[in-house]
């Protein structure tokens, strides 16, 4: 087994991992950084983000307003000190990306342009046409090439964390091409492995978004926080789930049902705004959780269109005209044409809600530290407390930059004063991990992996989807327990070493199942409705007395996780009713 010594190991080379790596290389040049990713960095799912990143720039806007939108958008489950730090640093970190070359869309005078986004009172979303994540990721990847101190381990798969003396001491990774494990010994480790959208069947996520880091930390006793909050994006393509960015609505696109009626006005988001004049926090610019819920309501009323690929409503962009669509939403046009055969210039796009984002994740404090000494977590795999019960679109790309920078700094400071542990016990631990992994490779049961994956995705959609009930969630929990038992008897056909993807899928399926379990159990325990967690049984309202609290899921090997609760940090915004549309204006007066 090859042993590689480094100062800081970063697992994940998406937006957050790359940002952290550059921070260390720039400001702590004496430190070595190992940047580990199971795919080449530019394949990371940050690449798929379309809409943009939030940061206050306009004179008419203010940090307080960004703070308020985020906290009320999160249904008061946000850590308010974290939100404060975030809004103060967002624009600065987006500027940093600009200095590194990110091609943000501009106004005619050469200054940054911003667009409207759901749940945001002012236009503050920086965008690079409709490929914001793509440009951010490539800018960061390319900038990282400037730094020889960053050693990349591309196409290396993290198998497990090595913990000794209650501190993290490194990670064991599998060189995918060689099929050989390596021990990376590190003083501190940053987890930046992204979300877990693939636990659901229909999602906007890439195949690699399988909750690996969440599960790894979870299995080592770090709590997963607020896992019940899963964001459905209201406008995914039917079938594939491919995203039609919220930017479509930010630019003026509207949602209509089968009667051509803009149904959002029936659900407290109206009054109807004139075509082509989107109004912040009204109608189509309401928050995602609400708009996804409206779809479900319309479905119940029979107002949706039933097509080959299931029920849909229409996202209509036609009134924007070809020029604007080509300038602001060229990728959307390309995607709609290729995947549903619709040219949005001439026809409305069929859409439906699909799973998009995991608000919860590895619990960290405001400085991205986890409860496991030396381990930090950032990006979608982490729960730093920014998003609460519902994330506002375009806050998470900024999160990558803001907390990526912070985690880089924190992990570097920690590594500077820490020593490498003696290698012997770490080697032994690593050997055990490798033995366990090999045992999995030699699984010869009769359970088909594809079946388990499919059944998991389906039962999550059914039980912990847009609307939830006690019975539906219980059913999902039982199903997951069954699937976990079956997982022990899977069959892996491919026993080879070189680029064995079947084996990797099997490991990922294990991660997915653990994450799914944490989601379902956290959901059933929350006996209220808040943000994206909406119940239609007796707990259909928010209950601040008992549940103005974060849920914490603790892993219990073969038993159900234990769910505990912790307080929410409230600094200046007391919980109030969450209102949009006309009601929000009345409230302001």
């Amino acid at each position: 087994m090859q042993i590689i010594k480094t100062d800081v190991a970063i697992i994940g080379a998406g937006g957050s991992g790359l940002r952290a790596a550059i921070e260390i290389a720039e400001n702590y040049p004496q430190l070595d950084v190992a940047l580990i990713s199971k795919v080449y960095p530019m394949r990371s799912h940050t690449v798929a983000a379309e809409g943009g990143a939030a940061g206050v720039v306009q004179d008419s806007d203010s940090l307080d307003q960004h703070f308020d939108d985020t906290v009320s958008g999160g249904d008061w489950l946000c850590e308010q000190d974290v939100v404060q730090y975030f809004v103060e640093n967002a624009a600065k970190q987006l500027t940093q990306l600009e200095h590194w070359g990110c091609p943000w869309s501009r106004k005619a005078d050469g200054n940054i342009n911003v667009r409207a986004f759901g749940g945001m009172k002012k236009e503050r979303t920086w965008f690079a046409a409709d490929k914001s994540g793509f440009h951010i990721l490539h800018t960061l990847f390319q900038t990282s090439l400037k730094h020889p101190k960053i050693t990349r381990f591309d196409e290396h798969f993290c198998l497990d964390l090595v913990v000794e003396n209650n501190k993290i001491q490194g990670v064991v990774i599998l060189d995918i091409a060689e099929g050989e494990a390596k021990l990376i010994q590190a003083k501190s480790v940053i987890m930046a492995t992204g979300g877990a959208g693939r636990v659901y069947t229909y999602n906007t996520n890439g195949g690699i978004v399988t909750g690996d880091g969440m599960s790894l930390a979870y299995r080592h006793g770090v709590a997963l926080r607020d896992m019940e909050f899963i964001q459905y994006h209201p406008t995914g393509l039917p079938g594939s789930g491919i995203l039609m960015t919220e930017g479509c609505r930010g630019e003026g696109g509207v949602l209509i049902n089968k009667n051509g009626y803009r149904y959002l006005q029936d659900y407290g988001l109206g009054p109807e705004t004139p075509l082509g004049q989107p109004k912040n926090k009204h109608m189509e610019l309401g928050p995602r959780d609400k708009i996804s819920q409206c779809f479900w309501q319309e479905q119940q009323k029979g107002n949706v269109i039933t097509g080959d690929r299931g029920d849909v409503v229409y996202l209509d962009l036609r009134h924007l005209g070809e020029t604007k669509i080509n300038e602001r939403l060229p990728f959307i046009r390309e995607l709609a044409k290729a995947y549903v055969g619709v040219d949005p210039v001439h026809e409305p796009i069929p859409v439906r809600p699909t799973v998009h984002y995991t608000m919860g994740g590895i619990t960290t404090n405001a400085k991205t530290e986890t409860s496991l000494t030396g381990l930090y977590a950032i990006g979608e795999c982490a729960s730093v407390g920014l998003h609460g019960a519902n994330r506002l679109g375009s806050n998470s790309l900024s999160e990558l930059a803001v907390f990526g920078q912070l985690a880089g700094q924190q992990a570097a400071e920690y590594a500077q004063q820490a020593e490498h542990h003696t290698i012997k016990p770490l080697q032994e631990k690593a050997q055990k991990i490798i033995a366990r992994t090999e045992a999995l490779l030699h699984s010869n049961g009769n359970e088909k992996m594809a079946d388990i994956r499919q059944e998991m995705g389906d039962c999550m959609e059914e039980g912990v989807g847009i609307y939830r009930t006690q019975t539906s969630m219980q059913k999902t929990i039982d199903k997951l327990a069954e699937l976990k038992a079956r997982y022990k008897h899977i069959n892996i056909n491919d026993k080879s070493s070189v680029f064995n993807t079947e084996f990797l899928y099997a490991i990922e399926l294990g991660y997915l199942l653990d994450t799914a379990e944490a989601i379902a159990h956290s959901a059933i325990a929350r006996q209220e409705s808040r943000g994206s967690h909406q119940r239609i049984d007796e707990f259909n309202t928010r209950n601040d007395v008992h549940f103005l609290k974060h849920s914490l899921a603790y892993y219990q090997a073969d038993k159900a996780p234990i769910i505990k609760y912790s307080d929410v940090t409230i600094t200046k915004s007391q919980p109030a009713e969450r209102v949009y549309g006309a009601a929000s204006e009345t409230k302001e007066k």
Binding site: V39, Y40, M42, R43, S44, H45, V47, A48, K92, T95, Q96, E98, H99, W100, G101, P103, W104, R106, A108, D109, G110, N111, I112, K131, F134, H135, H138, Q142, T143, L145, K146, D154, A177, G206, G207, I208, G239, S240, I242, L243, R309, F331, E334, L335, A338, Y339, M449, A450, I492, N493, D494, S496, S497, V498, F499, N500, T501, E502
Partner: protein
Amino acid sequence: MTDKTIEIEILRYRPEQDEKPFPQQFEVPYHPDMSILEALQYIKDHLDSTVSFRWSCRMAICGSCGLMVNNIPKLGCKAFLRDYYPQKVKLEALANFPIERDLIVVMDDFIKKLEEIKPYIIPESDDKCLSEGTYKQTPEQMEKYAKFSMCINCGLCYSACPQYGLDKNFTGPAALALLARYNRDSRDAGSAERMKIVNQEQGVWSCTFVGYCSVVCPKGVDPAAAIQLLKVESSKDYLIGMFKPD
């Protein structure tokens, strides 16, 4: 559901078992919406789990899934069965790259080439301070490099380039397009450094203007144009060099 099926032939290669690649046939249920990638996933889930290929985003933006479809480089997630049915579809790993296994190629050389061309802003003087805000860059100035910044690093253009096939030292289309992207960015002052790479034999002058790279590029990057523009710059460099004594 229809009962229609389509025949798919995959060039298999398993380094631990095979001396050289061999074709294997599969029969897959046909659906007009189905992408080549989905067909491969069907094969892996239901017919032969050892078939290996890269993928992730399945929306033509991560650049993982390049392969040869009937000898033409394509993204598996953006090529659809409807464009081939009822003919058989032949899949093979991207041409000009060594095959690691099945449809997976060794990308090392491609990545190395991206790394070598200094693909980052090299600022004029000392770093501009963050408190000074962003650089100004008008939409016109952006337009100068916008196209060349759209590359998803899928490698299709290297597969399409016979010059790269014949000489692996050629820097190649995507890397040169990326180089042009930074040279043409108003915020950058690193052109002189990068022109050293451009002017080399393996730089732009290995290109004989076949032009196929731009045809196969799924993102409209037009690397052939980038290279021709760099040739003009390189010639200017050469002429100026002739008249400059030193």
